[in-house]
């Protein structure tokens, strides 16, 4: 009898296990997990991104029970603001997504609050070894932990409206080689201002700006680095170095004199209307360049874009900033984090990475894709501008050092204050300069207005 009772308990246990597994199977049910994604690949990039996400959802997503649902497509600044709001649980802020694009500065803020998943736990060493080490290094933003996964990196290059430049060059004798250095750009910009001014003889001093940098902060960072100095020292800007003074002068003077543009926005806006014809900015900005220039009377002119490696200060070393956001996984359940990692792995597979790169202007992130795109695939790319861009990047990959911006808490605010301060001082000096021009020559007028400008800027910090 005792034996029978023991058997009964055993049978009961088996029955319970079977039933749990039956109901467990019923519970799993193949119901997919929806992972929300925020990204900043808007405009024409959206189409490429949509295609990739659809493909994932239809293939690997079906097998793994994952649906990627995009719930925000907005600019980097907007995503940064939304993430910050959400991280701080501000009223009206949307809930954090499962995967988000984030620049290191944004990711640092999220990591400080413990909101990001440790990607080292979600990828094996072997998997990580496939990625460009410097891109991974940029993602190790806190205590050496990988929080930002490189999905699409970028650097800065020089964009030029070749159509207008050719017209200008044929009349003035300037050459595209003059744009290899920032000093050369300054000289060409002065000539361009005079050339455009001369087209309306009736109106004096109405020349057009030639050049603009999308980020004056990066301009200074890379400029100082090229000259062998540090723009940021001890989490503060070093205004006193002679190298910075040279970098400052190279942009401030053309800006005051109207040869370079001071504009609260991206250079692509001014390219669209022909207000400038040359700029430095992220490779990812390529899709924002319009194939035409629209003039005030709504006439349009096709604009051929030329893309050149990032300019270098005379005597400086060839370096350019390494940019581009990566993707972060927001901390949630272990299962969800693993599923998000499945998407990131798929998205950065060489074949998918190449597809994304060849239609967006970002740089590949895996060694294999970088190697292939730089050799075999380049000729097969249909988009002429992307082809030009990647050709310039290939030169830069061979000859340039990619420089990672320093990262610390508050760099975001520091950058904003620098940009605002520089633009504000340059604009007010520009106004005074134009007033003085009525009775003075340009050099004298500039000297008169620019004497204290640099100390005025440094006093803001």
């Amino acid at each position: 009898m005792v034996k029978f009772q023991r058997n009964s308990v055993f049978i009961l246990l088996i029955v319970c296990l079977i039933s749990i597994s039956i109901s467990g199977c019923a519970g799993r049910s193949g119901e997919p997990t929806i992972l929300t994604l925020w990204h900043n690949y808007g405009g024409q990039l959206k189409e490429t991104m949509d295609e990739l996400i659809d493909e994932f959802n239809e293939t690997v997503g079906v097998q793994e029970g994952i649906i990627i649902s995009v719930t925000s497509i907005s600019g980097s600044a907007s995503i940064h603001e939304k993430l910050t709001m959400s991280a701080n649980e501000e009223p009206g802020a949307p809930p954090l997504p499962d995967i988000t694009i984030a620049y290191p500065k944004t990711a640092l803020l999220l990591a400080e609050k413990g909101l990001l998943a440790d990607l080292d736990q979600l990828f094996t060493d072997e998997e990580l070894s496939a990625y460009v080490p410097k891109f991974l290094q940029e993602g190790r933003i806190k205590d050496g932990v990988l929080y930002v996964f490189p999905t699409a990196k970028s650097t800065e290059v020089l964009f030029l409206n070749r159509t207008i430049f050719n017209r200008f060059a044929s009349e003035t004798g300037v050459s595209i080689d003059d744009l290899k250095t920032f000093e050369g750009i300054g000289r060409v910009a002065a000539l361009y201002y005079d050339w455009t001014d001369a087209q309306t003889p009736a109106v004096k001093n109405d020349g057009k700006a030639f050049f603009m940098s999308d980020s004056l902060f990066n301009y200074a960072l890379v400029g100082c680095h090229q000259l062998g100095a540090n723009f940021i020292e001890g989490n503060a800007i070093n205004f006193s170095s002679p190298h910075y003074a040279r970098v400052w002068e190279s942009y401030f003077k053309p800006a005051v004199m109207g040869h370079a543009s001071i504009y609260n926005g991206y250079a692509t806006d001014l390219f669209k209307t022909g207000e400038i014809i040359c700029s430095t900015g992220s490779t990812a900005g390529i899709m924002f360049f319009s194939p035409t220039v629209t003039y005030p009377d709504n006439t349009t002119e096709p604009a051929e874009l030329a893309i050149l490696p990032y300019p270098v200060f005379e005597g400086g070393n060839k370096s350019s900033i390494q940019r581009g956001a990566g993707m972060c996984i927001i901390r949630s359940t272990e299962e969800k984090e693993k599923q998000a990692a499945v998407f990131l792995k798929w998205f950065t597979r060489p074949e998918n990475n190449l597809r994304f790169v060849s239609s967006t202007g970002y740089l590949p992130v895996t060694e294999e894709a970088f190697g292939e795109i730089m050799s075999r695939e380049l000729e097969t790319i249909a988009d002429e501008n992307i082809k030009k861009l990647l050709t310039a990047c290939r030169i830069m990959q061979r000859e340039y050092e990619f420089f990672i911006s320093p990262l610390f808490e508050g760099i975001d605010q520091l950058e904003e204050r620098y940009e605002t301060g520089f633009k504000s001082i340059a604009s007010s000096c520009g106004d005074s300069y134009r007033d003085l021009l009525k009775n003075s020559n340009p050099e004298k007028a500039y000297e008169a207005v620019s004497g204290n400008a640099l100390s005025e800027l440094s006093n803001l910090f």
Binding site: S8, S29, G43, K46, S74, A77, D297
Partner: protein, 544 residues
């Protein structure tokens, strides 16, 4: 194979033997109880399944799904209707305000709106003057964009001037973030001067003017206003299908109303935009049951939903369907839900209802729009099957637990006390036997004790001399040692089977011994042996 069969045969041998024995000697009480309970529980289980089938419990998942779709559709439909009503209302307000404001400005400029196209150089000033009103209107309603299009172009001599219209299109890229410090306002169409003056960036696909060559959102309300001169603006606003604005990658729905001055001159349109992303963020159904549930807003024609003309919201990438399929054919099934069948691929199941985007006397009142909520068919089937699997496995589990528990309890509280009682009858002095607390057995013990006493009395009364018992005692000495062993066990109350098991002898051997014992002792049953032994005990004699 042969070996396996042989092994199975060997394993089954003892069980078969037991069954054979049970057939020969009858079934023990425990097995009888188990069989009885098993039949009882199985009958209850089958009856329960039959009741569940009759009451439709196995199809309850489907009914539940139907109720779920009913609720989900009602909620989504109300939400969308409310949202679109607000946009419609604001479109009408904006059109009335802009009509008045532009008329006043042009009148100050000394021009008539009917001749607006003759003053292209004034367009930037007129449009720029309305920028604040457009920005303000954008804040009043949950919309991803606001626009104003005038029936004039900045450069009438251009070849494309016939389809080019001046205006201003302002987009809010983050309409769902309500407290952003710097709302994402950018200009999609309009003069760059406005962008510079207000520090509003240009959209990546910016153009100075609108291309209205294929723009029903521009032409339809203007035509409606021309054909229905008496109708107020509130009856002339128009909702476009979901469309991609020319030269952009934005998928949007636009609500437009004509701009009409006090003389009835129609000089443009204005309106609001709902982008596909805003629609998705605002109206995505959040279901924990059906994660691939999505809803759509679509014009309806001939029982067909044209996906390219619809806005879709939901976790499921229904866009996959829309990018590859053009239409979903609606058909009614025998159950409550509708089937939405694409030309290829998986079907969807769900519900839809009409939504009122216009007043009944609107110029566009004949347009039918529906809101539908649906999921891939396999999801519903899966959910229903899953419920049934859970139900069936739970029932089976309960049955098995019930059988095991009842058998255990039956053994403890039924079989064991009976066995104890029977042993007591066999081995103890019935007169001093303890009570078993089972009335039937206690009665039996009482009865047997009484019977024993009566038998003893009778023996005495019949002058049953001690010589009878002595003779029995003498005859018992004739038993062989083997027969004595069996006799002893008989006298202790063992049955033939038990004796065979105890002495490791076959039942036939025991039977042979029994025959000889009965013959030598001149008795005819085991009970008689037990009685003689009991009587001998009573007179103080024992068989050695």
């Amino acid at each position: 194979m042969k070996n396996t069969l042989f092994r199975l045969k060997n394993m089954a041998q003892p069980a078969l033997h037991k069954l054979q024995q049970a057939g020969e000697e009858g079934m023990p009480l425990g097995q009888r109880l188990f069989l009885f309970l098993a039949v009882l529980v199985l009958t209850i289980f089958l009856s329960f399944i039959a009741i569940l089938l009759l009451t439709g419990t196995f199809t309850a998942g489907l009914s539940e799904t139907e109720r779920f779709f009913d609720n989900e559709l009602a909620r989504t439909s109300n939400e969308i209707e409310e949202h679109y009503d607000q946009i419609s209302l604001q479109t009408v307000n904006l059109a009335e305000n802009l009509s008045r404001s532009i008329e006043q400005k042009t009148s100050i400029m000394g021009i008539s709106l009917s001749n607006l196209s003759e003053y292209p150089y004034l367009l930037e000033e007129i449009i720029s003057g309305e920028c604040d009103q457009l920005l303000f209107a954008l804040q009043l309603v949950k919309s991803s964009g606001v626009f104003l299009i005038l029936d004039a172009t900045i450069n009438p001599i251009l070849a494309r001037a016939v389809h080019s219209r001046s205006g201003l299109y302002i987009k809010n890229m983050e309409p769902n973030v309500i407290s952003a410090s710097s709302p994402n306002i950018i200009i999609l169409r309009g003069f760059p001067g406005i962008s510079r003056k207000r520090s509003l960036p240009l959209h990546a696909q910016w153009k100075m003017e609108f291309d209205v060559s294929d723009a029903p959102y521009y032409h339809r309300p203007i035509e409606a206003a021309r054909f229905n001169p008496g109708l107020p603006i509130s009856r002339l606003y128009y909702w476009s299908d979901a469309l991609q604005l020319p030269g952009t990658s934005e998928e949007v729905m636009l609500c437009t109303a004509p701009l009409i001055d006090s003389n009835g001159c129609i000089f443009g349109v204005c309106g609001f935009e709902i982008s596909a992303m805003l629609f998705k963020l605002s109206h995505s159904p959040g279901s924990s049951i059906y994660k691939r549930l999505f809803c759509l807003l679509s014009p309806l024609a001939a029982d067909t939903i044209e996906l390219r003309r619809s806005l879709i919201a939901g976790g499921y990438s229904a866009r996959i369907a829309s990018s590859k399929q053009n239409a979903l054919q609606i058909s009614k099934q025998r159950h409550y839900l509708y089937t939405y069948r694409p030309e290829q691929g998986h079907k969807f199941l769900g519900l839809h209802s009409y939504i009122q985007l216009y007043p009944h006397d609107s110029a566009f009142a004949d347009q039918h729009w529906i809101v539908a909520a649906m999921v891939p068919e396999e999801d519903i089937m899966h959910a229903v099957t899953r419920l049934n699997v859970i139900l069936f496995s739970s029932l089976t589990l309960l049955v098995i637990i019930g059988v095991i528990l009842s058998f255990n309890l039956g053994n403890r509280f039924f079989i064991e006390p009976i066995s104890k009682g029977l042993n007591m009858i066999k081995y103890t002095d019935l007169g001093s036997a303890p009570r078993t607390r089972i009335p039937e057995i206690d009665n039996l013990i009482d009865y047997l004790a009484l019977r024993n006493r009566e038998l003893a009395e009778k023996a005495r009364h019949e002058n049953l001399s001690f010589s009878t018992l002595d003779k029995f005692l003498d005859r018992s000495r004739e038993l062989t040692p083997a027969e004595r062993e069996v006799f002893k066990l008989y006298s202790e109350g063992y049955t033939a089977n038990q004796i065979a098991a105890k002495l490791c002898l076959s039942i036939n051997t025991i039977k042979t011994h029994s025959k000889r014992i009965y013959s030598k002792l001149e008795v005819s049953s085991r009970e008689e042996i037990i009685l003689y032994v009991a009587l001998l005990k009573e007179i103080g004699k024992e068989i050695n």
